[in-house]
């Protein structure tokens, strides 16, 4: 499935608010614009621009909170993790290197690692791992996904569909790694599959997603 790129193409308009501080009034038209805008936001956050920080929060807080909620299955803890994550973003934005990834991936990794650390600290991983094994991490087809707040409804549906299309064993290995925080060896033990098989499933699953989402990301 190829992603469609029929979004309204509107050039981003940067309005000068004060010296060195920009407000982004319009949505970008494609992923490159999004990436550039996010990089600019992080640069301004690194320079202690609270307006840029607020904009970054408004843009990604729902997505990051949804991920934390999925991992932790606890609203209060997810709230703490989101707060910690944004403070970390505030502190570390100046160190962000665009060559090593995109801002959204950077923030997602941050919130995921903090949530997983909480699970490990509270010794709840076994229980959640079991839950991850029986409960599908993806949203039901009819319900809204967290991506809708970032990519819009249509694109979020395409991403969701790509995930649904993954072979179940590949998706489960990926979800156990990302949402349950298991290492490759732990996944191997959990699924009682050889380590090589697990590695191969994860690799093939991500490469398939990459190919299906090409043009969207």
């Amino acid at each position: 499935m190829r992603a469609q790129t029929d979004f309204v193409r509107v050039l981003p308009i940067f309005v000068l608010k004060t010296a060195g501080s920009y407000s982004f009034l319009t949505k970008p038209v494609n992923e490159q614009d999004t990436r550039n805008r996010d990089i600019a936001l992080l640069r301004h956050i690194g320079a202690r621009d609270r307006d840029a920080f607020a904009e970054f929060y408004d843009k990604y807080s729902t997505l990051l909170f949804s991920i934390a909620s999925k991992i932790l299955n606890d609203a209060a803890e997810a709230e703490d993790v989101l707060q910690e994550t944004f403070m970390q973003i505030w502190e570390k934005a100046g160190n962000f290197d665009p060559n090593l990834g995109q801002p959204l991936g950077w923030a997602v990794t941050m919130v995921r690692n903090r949530a997983i650390d909480r699970i490990r600290a509270s010794q709840r991983r076994n229980l959640l791992t079991e839950e991850a094994g029986v409960e599908f991490a993806l949203a039901a087809k009819s319900s809204e996904t967290a991506n809708e707040t970032v990519t819009g409804h249509e694109k979020a549906k395409l991403i969701h569909a790509a995930m649904v299309d993954l072979p179940a064993e590949q998706r489960r290995a990926i979800e156990l790694a990302f949402f349950a925080g298991l290492t490759q060896n732990e996944i191997s033990d959990k699924l009682q599959e050889p380590l090589g098989t697990i590695k191969a499933r994860i690799r093939r699953g991500l490469l398939k997603l990459r190919d299906q989402l090409e043009g969207l990301l």
């Binding site: 729902t62 909170f65 967290a146 990302f178 191969a200 690799r203």
Partner: protein, 265 residues
């Protein structure tokens, strides 16, 4: 070219499924391999998109204000230089300026004080030198006065030569120096014969009334010499003559004329 194994490592890395040691090793490999970095960046984007396929859950509305407030308070601590200048922010600078001015004033006063102290020390040195000069001059004057007094005293001294009256002692000579003002004198004699232990020579000052006044007893040394300062027993208005008699030990009230040894004026 990225091989299959490296692709597996990259997939596990973006999902956080590598152990800490494996993750460190992979990060190092990624740093040295731009193609691998690009590959990982694309997989990260895929992972981010995948993670957003979870059910949407809105964060509590009040959390936004809480986070922004936390950032604002952190910014106040971290970004002091970016704060707008207000009365409070000027206060430390104003205090620092006042302190600097105070230090300058104190420094100037200190310099003036040091100058004053230096001047006073110089004046003290000069006064000390003057005092030393005055003391030296005073000493010199005192010496001069003493010399003059001595000269004047010498002028007023009466010098009397006493001659031997004993036939067997012709070489005996004696001099008496008499200061009438001070009523004292010095008697010097040579070649006097030594006396037995129960006998003494006695010096007499004969006044203007020819009355002898005892002025002291003495013995001579082995060489027949004597030097004696003397002071008569009573006031001598004018010393007319000096004489020496041989007397019993300790002297007598009136001279034994037949035992007169020396006499002169």
């Amino acid at each position: 070219m990225i091989d299959e194994r490296m692709e597996e490592q990259a997939a596990l890395h973006v999902l956080g499924a590598l152990s800490e040691a494996e993750s460190r090793e992979f990060t190092q490999a990624m740093t040295a391999n731009p193609e691998l970095r690009e590959f990982v960046a694309r997989l990260s984007a895929v992972t981010a998109a995948m993670s957003g396929a979870v059910p949407k859950v809105e964060p509590p509305p009040q959390l936004r204000a809480k986070v922004l407030s936390q950032v604002a308070s952190a910014q106040k601590i971290v970004s002091l230089p970016e704060r707008k200048f207000g009365l409070v922010s000027w206060l430390p600078w104003a205090l620092a300026t006042c302190l600097a001015i105070l230090l300058i004033v104190l420094f100037a006063q200190d310099m003036r004080f040091r100058q004053t102290v230096g001047d006073q020390a110089e004046q003290i040195d000069k006064l000390n030198q003057l005092a030393q000069s005055l003391q030296s001059a005073t000493n010199e004057l005192r010496r001069t006065v003493l010399a003059l007094q001595e000269t004047n005293r010498l002028v007023n001294l009466r010098v009397a030569m006493l001659n031997s009256l004993v036939a067997d002692a012709p070489k005996t000579v004696a001099v008496s120096l008499w200061d009438n003002e001070h009523q004292d004198g010095v008697f010097v004699a040579e070649n006097l014969k030594a006396l037995p232990s129960d006998r003494d020579y006695e010096l007499w000052v004969i006044d203007e009334n020819q009355t002898p006044v005892a002025a002291g007893v003495f013995q001579v040394d082995a060489n027949g010499k004597i030097r004696m300062e003397f002071k008569p027993a009573r006031l001598i208005k004018t010393a007319g003559m000096f004489a020496v008699t041989e007397e019993a030990k300790g002297g007598v009230a009136s001279p034994t004329m037949k035992n007169m040894v020396l006499a002169g004026n």
